[in-house]
Homo-oligomer: 214 residues x 2
DNA sequence: TGTACATCAGTGAACGCGCGTTCACTGATGTAC
DNA sequence: TGTACATCAGTGAACGCGCGTTCACTGATGTAC
């Protein structure tokens, strides 16, 4: 009696087409927007037939789910674990956040663009798909920490702790997503990540420090 | 000999279909994104045949141009003239900018969403179409004014005057575009325009004012 | 005023095309004996 | 080891559909005389 045949073929040395397709899909989503990306344009980027996308992912909906689950979520969890490290005081928290955010957007240059277009926008493809999977725990915890600091007299009393979280994200995400625009307008090719971090922290910690003219 | 017939028909009392189509196009662009908006979906919103869009605008490209020229540009010029008023000092400049920005985004709720998706994004439909028509004079003038204030010792020396302009836009534009998201996360239905202005000015003028715990 | 006609705003049906998806098929790779 | 065959990764052609665009046409509105 023959041993039952094990399903699947063990080893190949061909390039992993599935990963190539996943990357092509992410590239297309960032460059064209998710709604405007066609399966044929994704296939064209990968140099394959659109039928191969059906072979690996089934349909467009499941391709989007795969990009979220295998490309986007790992990056977001990277940020989450970075912020979960307990810190001494609010100053350390602030510096940790700003450095982590600009670092994340530098390591994954597609993230800011994708986020701005697909999560912020009214009918963005990711807002409905991603919000249920993202625990709002991090922004809520940040806002509560700021509120506690404010009650303890350690934070500017005219700030709204919730809006301060919005301001933190706005300052980092917007500066990263709009970088091609403002680099073009100002010709600011000299501004690197360290300069962004320094400027943003100076603004957050001390503000404009406006003084009257003499 | 008869007087030559004057072309065109003088008066009608039917609703202006062209303006209705322009509004339907703006609605569709904001809700679905420009690239993903079809002429049929625009026509459906207006309750007419897509052939009518061809009748008034020719093709999709010229429809987009019409929305830019007749809806977007007037709003942007509104902001430009508001900022062109000479102000006494940097504090007045700052307050003027923040109030004008939040006021603009409140009067035209579609502006922040459209801007974030179509101008900021890499392949956004408006970036190529709009940047050549927008004089970068305003951000450049703001940056120069901040640089002068810094040289005069009236502005936090650790700030980058150019990035400060980016920060101003980020704080106002991002908070407005992301309002549906953060209102949902924080349940912050109580935050109105006045609260946004107050928080943002407190942050910009004085920063977080962090102090050590006792 | 009546009549003939030009022009108006807008429609309905159709065009070629690219879309997402399906499916019978193919040659290479592996397994059973 | 050789041979028969199952399974693999992937293709090519086709499907029905909605797209942008075109165009002959329509009834209402206006004008000339």
């Amino acid at each position: 009696m023959p041993s039952p045949r094990r399903p699947g073929r063990p080893e190949r040395d061909a390039p992993d087409q599935r990963l190539a397709l996943l990357q092509a899909a992410l590239d297309a989503f960032v460059a064209e927007g998710i709604a405007a990306s066609t399966l044929r344009s994704v296939a064209r980027r990968a140099g394959v037939t659109p039928a191969l996308l059906h072979y690996y992912f089934g349909d467009k909906e499941r391709l989007i789910e795969a990009v979220i689950g295998e490309r986007l979520m790992p990056v977001l969890q990277e940020l989450g674990t970075g912020l979960a490290v307990p810190v001494q005081d609010e100053r350390a928290l602030l510096r940790g956040f700003v450095q982590a955010a600009f670092g994340l957007f530098e390591r994954h240059p597609w993230l800011a663009t994708l986020w701005v277009r697909e999560v912020l926008s009214e009918g963005g493809a990711l807002r409905e798909r991603l919000m249920p999977r993202l625990a709002p725990a991090i922004p809520l915890a940040l806002a509560q920490r700021f509120a506690a600091a404010q009650r303890g007299g350690r934070l500017n009393p005219d700030l709204d702790p919730r809006l301060l979280v919005v301001s933190l994200i706005g300052l980092t995400l917007f500066a990263s997503a709009a970088a091609p625009v403002w680099r073009g307008v100002f010709g600011a090719t000299d501004v690197d990540r360290a300069a962004l971090v320094e400027h943003t922290l100076a603004l957050l910690e001390r503000g404009l420090e406006l003084r009257h003219a003499d």
